[in-house]
Symmetry: D2
Subunit: 297 residues, 4 copies
């Protein structure tokens, strides 16, 4: 598997997210890739060990944790269907009376976090410990500057949360819920951290790092199915068409992809295409899938 070749062919492109300073100042030409196999092999190249803001990738951790500790009622509060792009966010939420279509749109992730807060004493801390445990890296942490910036400019998220509350789909204090949400999204991790932390999704729920199952086999497949049907926003169909692997992206430029029963691939390139996904990361995964002939289809 020649990850260096992928690295060579992927050139800088796309626009770095600029809505908060901490993201805007990341150099556009950064690129890292890390692969972790279920047999324990790992590969890395480029800036694979540099930490970046994982942003929406954190929504997968939140969901994994919630599927473990929240009762099944979670799916009464959030759907499992993809969401047409022109209809995302507030519009869809209004038509569907406060039930977000899936746990990876912002409104859905906010509901998942509210559910976590209802059963955990210190949801933020528990989440951080969970991510540290999964990646086997006790030094990963929230980025307070990022969380603060998000909080100061995240009017759409405040609007979403208030709207969910108006539809009785938030149980806890709105400020606590949003503070937790912004912190989850602010987590700084490297490609290597991500590739290791998500290995259970390629391993039927078993974490080799923790030596224990963090999800059942079925739950692991379910998370993968949700990533495939709504992991890359409005590029999800094209990504499934071209790459054919469950994946989740974040606005910080990271993407984690799963090859079930084999490996995880984490890529990072801060330049985003117009669908909000890492331009280099998407191309790298496409090349990787073609070179290795990996696809779930």
């Amino acid at each position: 598997m020649d990850v260096d070749q992928v690295l060579l062919e992927v050139v800088g492109e796309g626009e770095v997210a600029s809505y908060i300073p901490a993201l805007a100042r990341v150099p556009a030409d950064k690129f890292g890739i890390a692969v972790q196999t279920v047999e324990g092999d790992s590969f890395r190249a480029g800036d694979a060990e540099e930490r970046f803001s994982i942003q929406s990738i954190s929504k997968v951790f939140s969901l994994m944790l919630a599927m473990r500790i929240v009762t099944d009622s979670l799916w009464d509060r959030v759907g499992r269907e993809p969401s047409g792009n022109a209809f995302n966010s507030l519009v869809q939420l209004e038509f569907e009376r406060g039930i977000p279509r899936n746990p990876f749109i912002n409104a859905g992730a906010i509901v998942v976090i509210d559910a976590l807060i209802s059963v955990l004493n210190e949801a933020k801390i528990c989440f951080l410990e969970y991510a540290r445990g999964l990646s086997g890296n006790e030094s990963i942490n929230f980025n307070d500057e990022v969380a603060r910036s998000e909080s100061e400019t995240g009017y759409i998220n405040f609007a979403l949360a208030n709207f969910l509350k108006a539809h009785d789909n938030i149980d806890n204090d709105l400020d606590v819920v949003l503070d937790t949400y912004f912190h989850h999204c602010s987590l700084d991790m490297s490609c290597v951290d991500l590739a290791r932390a998500f290995l259970p999704l390629a391993n039927n729920g078993f974490s080799t790092i923790l030596g224990d199952a963090v999800l059942t086999r079925q739950q692991s497949r379910q998370v993968n199915s949700l990533m495939l049907t709504w992991g890359l926003y409005d590029a999800v169909g094209r990504f499934a068409y071209r790459v054919g692997l469950p994946a989740k992206s974040g606005v910080g430029g990271g993407i984690i992809a799963i090859v079930p029963n084999e490996m995880t691939i984490a890529v990072w390139g801060p330049g985003l295409d117009k669908t909000g996904n890492s331009a280099m990361g998407t191309r790298a995964l496409e090349m990787f899938a073609q070179m290795t002939q990996r696809s779930i289809f």
Copy 2:
């Protein structure tokens, strides 16, 4: 693999489609299942050899044929993204200015058929020959009564086609396009026919019946990815979550599912759940997936 056990546990449920007489008079307690493996084994149970109206399942045949004979420009005229449910049909089409979100919603299938008509002299005949060839059954045929009924009551499809034309996304005569569309949907096939005809999608594009590739390996995967992200209307997320296999349903009660590299499973039960998918068929596939632990995730 005990397909009879599946049969025993699935009881009659759901509502038979009643918008045209030919569908309405099908007994609700019919149920058939057929499995075809890439090694050449086959299993069948119940009404597996009885023909029924495949309806929207025909959209996969249309697409497969179009991917083979229409240039890449097909994807300029139709998208590859899932479609939120409350927003399907005309609404979405208007917001997106006449570009259907994917080839499996009605508007998308109409565009695919228009593209076929532009390159084929006798699109209806070619399509029929294509389906006959894939299933190795020269006796399958259109159901003229069904096609006529659809044509007489299909005002929504006429509305969609006119709207597409208004946006310059139909090249041929509307009546010809719709007549072809209604005939494709009227195809009568059995579970056994379907399981055989779709085997190339489980076999990297190779048809053992024809002894030839009908799609490239990549195209085969692409069709599977499109089925996974929009094959079961607004139940696509839940189906991916519970069953985890690419599949396509029709309002006649049929569902075809693909286990890549292994087999196809065709089920038929005319009673539909509220998402418009076969209630018995969905349950049967769920049981099958659980019993055999098959899933692409």
Copy 3:
């Protein structure tokens, strides 16, 4: 009342409708204005006697006729509410399950005409006679070239009509309904004709030309209220704000405005602003209202 002054200050502007040849070849610098008072005085200037395609202005005639001869059930099939602009046409119709929001959007006018056809033997002829009678001009007529062009390119209207039919809101043959609709819209009349024909709406329903009431006082007011709340598409609010008179425009560049109890004003300028209303006509009415201090508010 110095209608010539209005004429002098209104300069050519806007874009002539170009979707059909007969409209596209009208010179953009045409401008006419005609005023008719309930006392019998009349004023005219510019191209006031030249006939043009009245297009959507015909919807008011259709409605007036329907209010006279169709039972109250008309309002079960079409609403009386304004329609937000981004949501017009098919989108709104789908959300509201086939009940057009008002009789002046295309879908609403199609329903009104369907209702007329149900009670009249020869709806087209009756309509023509009605318009001739109201204007006291036996020579006005349909423009067959315009009707044919509309019919050949009016895919959106065909889509709307099919959609209405799918929702059981059309009783007659679709082709007959649309042919009638296209003919109504194709009526050629001059400003003078229009100012005379609409005088009953300024005269509590009484036609001085016919020497008879064509509407009750209440019906006359009701038609005016519908014009005020949806006569000028998405410019209705601004027009009410600036001009303050019930009015109806057509894509041919005509606008008819009503000063209740006093007079009618018909203007014509083929150049349209981006809301689809005559640019010169709107400005002329604005100047007229300011100069004469007429407003219903």
Copy 4:
């Protein structure tokens, strides 16, 4: 003018607003009516002197004040068009990128209040003084319990305000803007107060109480036009059709109607119909218009 007769024929009906305690405990059988003419005559009947929560009627005061003291740029931040019903609130706001369609929907009123805050030191106090001055009643006041309840449960309004802020259409602190908004809506006034306060809108902008013009003649007409096209939510078309007078309603059960150049009519009945307007009030105004043959059309 026999306002007592109106009173006798209007019976209790509709549902009292129950989303906050202060509104829920108002007896459903209250009913008052007050008429004030430009000549100085006044009539009153029933509970015409009892104060109630004027709620959205306050939006007219906010707008009148803003038209006086805010520059024309107000109309760059808020539209003047009616809003289709199924598409109000967040949905419409999202499609139109943060520009509310008119100053009487909640989002529009919040923008108007933000504009007032930008030019006034103490917007709440100025507004209260303005309402007191217009009605000639120094004792009218905000209802702090109502304002507090709205603030505690008004998640939709918080969502709207955050969404407006996300689109840069709020300049001031969100909490200050919403606190001001909730206070404006909490104003307690009687029918007599309202009939007197709104007299300038029937009097070309001149307040006989203040002995001064509070609006120009044109501005007065403009406010009336806005009331006619969006004063009664989704009943605006039917109300214009049946009553034919500019009017504004509030969820507290009040409605103020204007007969230009003649009089104002204020009615109050707490029971609301399904469009959110006073059921008794609407019927009373309909009877009044019929009996007196008043209509702007």
